[in-house]
């Protein structure tokens, strides 16, 4: 039995009767093709096509470079270790939070730890690592009197990345642990298992796909990370930094394109495993909602050591973050610590064009964030609530962006737009303009926004929108009067997340920014590279204040205007 064309034709006709929908879909598909698919495709073309024929010569050439092959092994090694360490520490934190009774202060510490990586630029920890443990480090030199400690290199990257990424694992695993029905574990206890046995025979197996998931997510983050290896890697180069140097140092754009393809293949592979294998497994093992509250572990011999361990780790991480604003107050880092001074902050504005840097970063991010938030809500709406041809494309491409390292995207934009579309000059005006920076911001934040939008929309009963549609509203009206108000909270947090991600972004943008724009993150990177840590800290401090302010503002706004809140109060 073949499906007759009539149903599909009617669906299409109904869709066409909705011009706003059709336009939206067309615009979306164009956007995704131009700014996600095309730059990646051009990398492939660039690195496999030379002098009019298909060739593997460029790949052969870069693979023959010892720097590049070393970068591949370095990257994988770091990614693997960071993935494992982050998952383990994340698991410890999540377990303690979900299973152990702890006092309010410790709970507060946990919350701060989960917040910090969200509001801070990605490389802040490298900065403080160098300042605390480097040659002129506060701890190594002043406290311990070690004068030749080397933080640069493999261990530096591993430690910094682990501390940066473990909160992500912690949040992921916390969600999963909360979904384990306590009665499963109680049943095991009841049958005579010790707490350790329950953990190894019930909790851990249930959590296993989730752990794999956390590991891969961190692994991808780690190998895509640019700023930390750049700052603290020293001569230990990873793929992201090698690609960057290949462009900025060796001016070998074709080679960089080939390298970017290699990096992209690695992340795509990991992403595919994570997305299609592990995520479905996680969902399959942990579908149940906790039927009731869990009996928390009160046994002091368990809770006290665990709490102390986590608190120490949390305090250490927080300490590293705090080191940045304090560092900006010392007269000369590593030599003269008193009296505290604001001269670096002053210099940021008087000497180093701080005002312009903050203005450029702020304005570009401010423009990008509503676009990102709205786009991701529209994509989520289409993906969750509508059926049309091309939907699979939209979903796949916007998820694909999640697996693309910023450096790869940056190289793709250089190759794709420096001489216009397919080197024809079309759309060349975008290159070197503010528009391309905004587009990069949008593309880099789109996947996160889309993911949270999709999960928010999935919770809305489909028939609520259908009822509005049934009462005469067209798709646009339904979206504006029903969907958007119902996911207002998700939209708002998407807005702020996009803003924060944009203003702290560096990996793609550093390849595309021109001297006419000063971006804070790029400035921080430059000063840190030069060893001007105090200035870098001053910049970073102001940046953290801006991002934290944005998050505070959002929370405040949600408290007064959030949907869920309002409905809860009136209930």
């Amino acid at each position: 039995m073949a499906k007759t064309a009539q149903g599909a034709a009617l669906d299409r006709k109904k869709l066409m009767a909705d011009p706003i929908m059709v336009t939206t879909i067309v615009v979306l598909i164009t956007f995704l093709t131009l700014f996600i698919l095309y730059p990646l495709a051009i990398l492939l073309v660039d690195s496999a096509y030379s002098d009019g024929h298909v060739t593997l010569d460029i790949f052969k050439r870069v693979l023959a470079m010892p720097t590049f092959t070393r970068a591949i092994t370095n990257t994988l090694k770091v990614g693997f270790v960071v993935g494992i360490l982050s998952t383990l520490i994340g698991l410890l934190f999540a377990y303690v939070e979900v299973y152990v009774r702890m006092n309010k202060a410790v709970g507060g510490l946990f919350k701060v730890v989960s917040m910090l990586p969200v509001v801070s630029p990605p490389f802040v920890l490298s900065l403080s690592m160098i300042m605390l443990f480097g040659k002129a480090g506060l701890i190594t030199r002043f406290l311990l009197g070690i004068y030749d400690n080397n933080v640069y290199g493999y261990w530096g990257i591993v430690i910094v990345q682990t501390l940066t990424f473990f909160p992500v694992c912690y949040m992921m695993l916390k969600g999963l642990l909360k979904n384990i029905d306590p009665s499963l574990e109680e049943a095991a206890r009841d049958m005579g298992a010790s707490r350790m046995k329950v953990f190894t025979s019930v909790t851990l197996p249930l959590l296993l796909p989730g752990l794999g998931n956390a590991f891969l997510v961190t692994f991808i983050e780690s190998i895509a990370d640019f700023a930390n290896p750049m700052l603290i890697g020293g001569s230990y180069d990873t793929l992201a930094t090698t690609i960057y140097l290949q462009i900025t140092g060796a001016f070998d754009k074709q080679g960089a394109a080939a390298m970017a393809v290699v990096l992209l293949c690695i992340t795509l592979l990991m992403f595919a495993v994570q997305k299609y294998y592990l995520e479905s497994k996680t969902a399959a093992t942990l579908t149940g909602k906790a039927s009731r509250a869990r009996m928390l572990i009160e046994d002091k011999s368990v809770s006290i050591p665990l709490t102390i361990l986590c608190s120490l780790a949390a305090i250490f991480v927080i300490g590293m973050y705090v080191c940045v604003p304090i560092g900006a107050l010392f007269p000369t880092w590593g030599y003269k610590l008193t009296p505290l001074t604001f001269k670096w902050f002053q210099q940021v504005f008087t000497k180093y064009h701080g005002l312009k840097a903050f203005k450029d970063s702020f304005v570009l991010s401010l423009i990008a964030s509503p676009i990102t938030a709205l786009l991701s809500m529209i994509i989520s709406y289409l993906v969750v609530k509508k059926k049309f041809r091309g939907k699979g494309f939209i979903e796949a491409v916007s998820m694909l962006a999640m697996a693309v390292p910023g450096t790869v995207l940056g190289v793709g934009y250089i190759r794709g737009y420096a001489q216009g579309l397919f080197h024809t000059g079309a759309l060349q005006f975008l290159y070197n303009s503010a528009a391309i920076l905004i587009i990069v911001f949008v593309v880099r934040s789109l996947p996160t926004g889309t993911r949270s939008g999709i999960s928010a929309l999935r919770q809305i009963d489909k028939s609520i929108e259908e009822s509005a549609y049934d009462m005469g509203a067209d798709s646009f009206k339904v979206f504006m009067t029903v969907t958007l108000p119902l996911i207002k909270d998700s939209f708002l947090s998407g807005l702020v997340t996009a803003f924060v991600r944009s203003i702290t972004a560096i990996s793609a943008i550093i390849l595309l920014v021109t001297p006419s724009f000063l971006l804070i993150t790029v400035q921080i990177n430059e000063f840190a590279e030069k060893g001007a840590f105090s200035i870098a800290c001053a910049f970073a401090t102001i940046l953290i204040i801006i991002t934290y302010g944005a998050v505070l503002l959002m929370n405040l706004f949600m408290r007064f205007f959030g949907t869920s809140r309002k409905m809860k109060e009136e209930a």
């Binding site: 499906k3 007759t4 609520i464 259908e466 509005a468 119902l486 309002k566 409905m567």
Partner: protein, 358 residues
Amino acid sequence: MAKEKKGVRLEHISKIYQDPKTKKDFYAVKDTNLEIEPGSFVTLLGPSGCGKTTTLRMIAGFESPDEGEIYLGNEPINELTPNKRDTAMVFQSYALLPHYNIFDNVAYGLKIRKVPKDEIKRRVTDILALVGLEGMESRMTNQLSGGQQQRVALARALVMEPGVLLFDEPLSNLDAKLRVTMRTEIRRIQQRAGITAVYVTHDQSEAMALSDKIIVMEKGLVSQMGTPQEIYYHPKNKFVADFIGDANFLEGRMLRHEGDTGVVDINGTEVKVAAADNVPDGANTTVVLRPESTMLRDQGYFPVQVVVSNFMGAYQLYHVMLGDVKLIIHEYNPKDKKIYQAGETVFIDFAPGDAHCI
């Protein structure tokens, strides 16, 4: 109240879905022809997966038929989107807009149609009075009980004065008592409004209580249509007989027709049944007996063994075995009747008019 009562006509309607597991196409609804009279209350009844909801959603416009044409009144509506169709739907989950209060929920469709403000106010107030929610305009929907939410959903559909009102299992989320109250209410309001209604349910008693006409569906096909009485007393096949109420089935062979009655041979006993023009002499047939019209007596057609005898209040419930066939018998008002106990052997008996051949 309705501007114009409209009928609904389905001509050779089919809907094909793909099984997500096997990737095979199958007919969710197959070559269905229906004629729903203006102003009537018609119920699509069947087990889950029979195609009833798909049919309703095709009338509403959420699904597009793969074959055939749907008419609302005389207008073909295949190409119209749900918002352009003169239908209004009451959803199973009520689907009230959670960010609006009752008034705004009911007024939503009127506002879209740009009805003047004072008219909206008047119509919403009237309709809320009709469903018994006057004075509750400013309540939020989550402050309402299930029954009240149901009334809002109904008011919201009615206020549009649609040509056809569609119900998708609207009572399935209510408790048993409220379900009975609400179905009486729905019938009252539908008749007051004189509106055409298509109602989907899997609850046969709901279908009987509400409908002018019941359409029983099975596996995408219409099994039988007719008034509740026709469906109950003259089911066309085993599926309908079994789905609507309880039924006992006796296999036999038609011997001959004698005027108004037929004579069937069941296990060697000749049994008189109601007119069975559908079954020719000599053919195998199944005799349908309703539990309440089957009787246990000291004498009768066949000897049976009582295996269950339970006092249910309104009736005595028996399970009896005829060979290896289990029969269910309801003896109503058992107070002064002879009660048989489990283990006894007795006879079953019935009037010819209560036995029906399929």
